[in-house]
């Protein structure tokens, strides 16, 4: 049973890391738009790339 004296504090430390990571994500705008990124995966085309100079006018 004495293993819990190691594992439980370890889990608390892990939780602190998880919270830290979450705060970092919030700070970096990861939670500001939860609606539109869901549509990106439905798109088969290449994502709009900053490197290609072509206009979206394909015709």
């Amino acid at each position: 049973m004495s293993i819990i004296y190691v594992l439980i504090p370890l889990s608390v430390i892990l939780m602190v890391f998880a919270i830290g990571f979450f705060f970092w994500a919030v700070k970096n705008d990861q939670f500001d738009d939860l609606d539109s990124p869901a549509l990106d995966v439905l798109d088969d085309d290449e994502p709009a790339s900053k490197t290609d100079e072509e206009t979206p006018d394909r015709s």
Binding site: P9, M15, F22, V26, S36, A48, D52, P56, R58
Partner: protein, 807 residues
Amino acid sequence: MSTAAAAARAASPDACWHCGEPIPPGVDLHAEVQGEDRPMCCHGCQTVAQLIDRAGLDRYYDFRDALPERPEREPVGAETFLAWDRDAVYDHHAMRDCNGHYQLPLVLENVHCAACAWLIRRFVGSLPGVIDLQVDIADGRAQLLLDKDRTPLSEVAGRLASLGYRPHLDSPDASLDRDREQRREMLKALVVAGLGMMQVMSYALAGYIGAFQDIDPTSERFFQLISMVVAVPVALYSGRIFYRAAWRTLASGRMGMDVPVALAMLLALGSSIVITWLDAGETYFDSVVMFIFFLLLGRYAVLVARQKAGRLHSALARALPTQVRRLTPDGAELVSLVELASGDRVQITSGETVAADGRVLRGEAQVDEALLSGESIPRRRVPGDTVLAGSLVRDGQIEITVEQLGQGTALAGIVRLLDQARQFRPRLAQLADRIAGAFVAFVLTAAAISAIAWTFVDPAHALPVALAVLVVSCPCALALGTPVALASATRGMARLGVLIHRPDALEALPKISHLVFDKTGTLTRSDPELVETRLEAGLDADQARRLAGRLERVSRHPLASAFAPFDDGAPVEQAQAVASQGVQGRIDGVEYRLGRPAFVGEALEARPVEPGPGQWLALADGQQLLAWFRVELRLRDGAEDLIEQLHRDGKTLVLASGDRAANVQALAERLGIEHWHAEQSPADKLALVRSLQAEGHRVAMIGDGINDAPVLAGADVSMALAEGADIARTQADLVITGQGLQRLAAALALAPKVRRIIAENLAWALLYNLTALPFAAFGLIPPWAAAIGMSASSLLVVLNARRLGRS
């Protein structure tokens, strides 16, 4: 594909594929989308649909779950925004980052669903200079990160406008940042509480199981200590929202629902620390953290719903033009508003909006100040007169000296007043707050009495009972019931194409007994249509209409729009519009005139006589009269159905119009409206509404928003029909977007449901609080169960209200 997309798609086959509006009779426009020929209701929709399809972004039509507004008739391109490329705009509106890119906030019109954001990101984001573009669909704002050397801002703006999402410059807005900060703080608190709750609950569970399995005292003590180590920081961090709110209400001498909440948390936390310190029995760490988590869950849902619904777009930015023509000794130059200074000379021509308050120096024009005064008839302005920012110049050209700018203008003052008016909380929510205040005092007394009573019966139970009473009877659900329902309904209405400026109106809507309608622009369309062509000599009907279409191209008079569909784009020489008379021009060497009979008659020997009743325009060349055109305002789509629906519901309908008696009577008879009043000025209409109210009736006014501003303000509920840029200018409680009246009918049908949900919420919250209280007082509910019960009741209220958001 998805059901949402299918639902958003217009149900009937004769609806416009792009905007879902019914296609007016006689319009035969198509666009190829996804390889199929789709019907379109207007050139604006056709242009946008073709643009989307050609860019390969036609999947927008699968993704969207809300219909867009009809785009403006005349396509807006980069040239409208040329002044935005000036350095002053970047200096004033943008922030420069370390890579030399500019970060700009933009306010976009008509952004409704995630598909809009997708479309914008794909279509505009592919421009080489656009480094990043984030669209916030909740409030229609976009954050643009731009490399202006590769793509100028005007091109980005033109591209947004061509899709129907017209952009407006926005100064960095403090309230917006505050909103986001608030949302982030709440989210962080919520997640910390959630993680903490899982940990503490697992320790508590270990303790409970251990109680049956002879846990050794060292382990038990360890679980208690580790619970404290986790719970105390979590409760202090996540719960601080409640402590702060409670402190603020107490400091201002009031009772709020946060007071018992905060008290229960701190009491449970403090006593648990003491108990752990003394090693003297049961602790409540798990209950405290769980309570905080569930409360935050409810609060977060409300915060998001409210922020989504209640965003007031920067009305000031939208009412003013994107660029102005400043006159300098070297000639005219296009500059942006931020460059304008007091004392500058500015030229404004027909169809443009005045950018600043000023005095007319030269020229004269008819100026429409409907936005400011509600006066729909344009006034003549001559040198020496003042003109106000936000008013529209019709027929003429003026030069003004700028006197007041930006926040100093009369318009800014009006916007400030409106903002203040909107700060008021809904009446029912205020009532609920007052009830909650009284209820809190009652709860605190009840908790104290139960605690004292229990110290005599069984002192060990005094604390848990007091905690349970405090927690179980928290009147959160009571206070949440109304605002969350109104917020949800606002979102539901927005999906129907009805924007709500004053959520209170939703609650008042079902009680309305009288509806007063304006005629022109409300029951009828505001743009006239060509209904009859009579030929006099030499031409066939098609030729005559095409000639008229070409000639009217130069005119900005409303009547000219009736001929726009027939314009084939062929050149007209020396085309000229003569204010309120007509147009003239030379086509293929022949001089033509089109307009009022008197104007056309000047070129002929005799003034031609109209062939019948109605409004007729004559077309003539130098020698003879060629044709007559009759133009008429047509009924809006859905007008008949709406009137029928209202009659069925037992409402009294009144038609009040500034038009002549014969026209008003004809329309009233046609629609079966029993009461009508003709030749009404805005003041007369207001008096009419007031007299109905004096008789004890609840009156709703339905107008076209701008001309009827004072009447709209006087009615119990005001509704306005508006399109495009007018949406932002309208001050009605409810704004119905689009061309048809079907959306108004849908809004009227939804309103009773809102009322019912509010009543359900309040009834449920009261019932729950009153029944749970005695059980808690008699010690039948442990603190952890009280926390779950209280949170569940709040969540139930939120979920019930959410039904209104779906439509």
